[in-house]
Symmetry: C2
Subunit: 340 residues, 2 copies
């Protein structure tokens, strides 16, 4: 067990004060080059490592950024995280990642823990369940930068990073309409979450715009778990007016739907045209390939990282809450092709 070296050990060894050692190690200007080099040399020799606990206590900062996401194991989320991690890591920050598992209670606990851990900033994508946001005021009160991405909530002075979900929903639906669909079912997530709510609004606006108000109520709320495909299929197969278009707010679930529908004898896109959301890798694997909305996760992560670093570095005024809207893109593949 190697004993650990402190700046006091180094100070004693070199016959200088701990302050001098600390300054040497931190590139303080008023230290002679000679002394600095002696200290650096000794530090290397003894294998000195800074004690972050002490440093953090003294500096009141941790160089750590907290993240709360609904779950880690989704293609989209892990891609966003990958982008965040890359950015903040390059800037010398560590990432503490925790998952709410879509539970408000766990989100609250995580927020508390991260606060106590002394994170310098917090990035959040909300749980489906969350309705109360008090657990975040602790951060805003202490002026700890707080940023929401994807599943956002509008808090004062909190930047958000999203795509224009309503427009995307509108474009997706409109695309189906343009391909000839008249009776479009929308499968959405929890409407409490703005991502889903806005896509739903976009869906309705598209119907309105094209005079298809008749099918306004064709909405199924789903948790997007594989087992809930059945209720969608059930709905489609028992619908009085036959469904000819399906707009699913989630690619993997759209894929499950396609598989189940195909098994049931429906032809995609001949009988039902389908469009998903996210452009997950699976959308290119399924047959027919799935039309979808590109949702640039990595870019979102990178921007989230950059934004929060800007706030931490002071280069962005903390009071100026920026709302970053990332460009999405309609991706047309086979699953929504018009068939003559």
């Amino acid at each position: 067990m190697a004993k650990k070296t402190t700046i006091y050990d180094l100070a004693k060894k070199l016959g200088v004060s701990p302050a001098t050692v600390s300054r040497s190690l931190n590139e303080h200007p008023s230290i002679s080059i000679k002394t600095k080099e002696r200290v650096l040399k000794a530090a290397k020799e003894t294998g000195y490592r800074i004690n972050k606990f002490a440093s953090n206590l003294s500096l009141q900062k941790s160089n750590t950024i907290g993240v709360i996401v609904p779950r880690l194991n989704s293609d989209f989320m892990s891609t966003v995280l990958s982008g965040i991690e890359k950015m903040v890591n390059e800037a010398g920050y560590n990432l503490i990642i925790s998952q709410s598992l879509e539970l408000e209670a766990k989100e609250k606990i995580n927020a508390k823990t991260l606060f106590e851990s002394g994170v310098d900033a917090l990035l959040v994508s909300l749980a489906n369940e969350t309705e109360d946001y008090d657990h975040f005021t602790t951060f805003t009160e202490r002026k700890i930068p707080l940023l929401f991405f994807d599943r956002v909530f509008d808090m004062p002075n909190c930047p958000t990073i999203i795509i224009d979900n309503q427009l995307a929903g509108l474009e997706a639906t409109e695309h189906l309409i343009n391909q000839g669909c008249q009776n479009i079912l929308h499968v959405s997530g929890n409407l409490k979450r703005s991502v889903y709510n806005l896509r739903y609004k976009g869906y309705r606006r598209a119907l309105e715009k094209h005079g298809l108000k008749g099918c306004e109520n064709l909405v199924q709320i789903s948790n997007f778990k594989p087992e809930s495909v059945q209720s969608v299929i059930q709905y489609i197969s028992t619908s009085s007016a036959p469904i000819d278009g399906l707009f699913v707010s989630n690619d993997s679930f759209a894929v499950y739907c396609i598989k189940a529908l195909t098994k049931k004898g429906y032809r995609i896109p001949e009988d039902i045209k389908v469009i998903g959301f996210n452009n997950d890798p699976v959308s290119e694997v399924i047959n027919p390939e799935l039309s979808t909305i590109e949702y640039p996760g990595y870019k979102m992560g990178v921007l989230a990282g950059q934004s929060i670093l800007g706030h931490l570095g002071g280069s962005i005024d903390i009071e100026s809450a920026d709302q970053i809207i990332i460009k999405h893109k309609l991706i047309i593949r086979e699953s929504s092709q018009k068939c003559n």
Copy 2:
């Protein structure tokens, strides 16, 4: 800006010593119930939050566990992480996650940072590139529990969590042989990583066992990136003895291969039977559905979490390096079916 409360503030307010406050807050036995309740009440009222920096410094532990993975955004890895996070979070630990991006240099930096951050334990899945392991000795020297999972390396006193990759490789290959394949190409990852190396060994052993030593050298090393599919296709289409079986050490890459082969006019499984590895969700989406080896990521994460918690809690002797081998399973789907 809410001012923060310290135990000194509470002490002054209640007319007791900081020590008493600290003890009250930590369920110390020798504090009267009355005092304890007064302290707890005052703590709640003032919104007292412990300062982990100070606590960590004093206790020399952070309640934080570090993780280094090649990349976050892979289905397998994010699933493992999800399992780890769940376990350690329940035990009150936070997870600092960093990615090496398959680069030895970044892995070294990450290890250093995590060490300095004072993580109580480290979980690692190695980068493809890594050949030198000095950056981990810092941890073992200081008796900080170190555990490898999936991409492991055998260090003294470090538990590892893996599956029996050689057996899995053997079973996968043998399955293809049993389906009638005579000329099996194996697409592997970097052979420096034992996961790939062992699967390769299993592949060779299967060939040997079945007297197919002829195709022993049919191995392609790949980085599994989409763009490298071409070189595999190239290899197959120019091979003098026609390839009739394909064992790919990675599901998503197997999927890319199937798509590319199909486009080239090969029929799967009639012309070439394919088996992958991991049982990623995509394997059930591709047409034909992909035979594969089930690799239980979530379980691996949970076990990794449990194991490291055992070491931290002292319930497992730190000197006893356990090697946990998780059961895998051959999953037979359409892509490898014998056709009459």
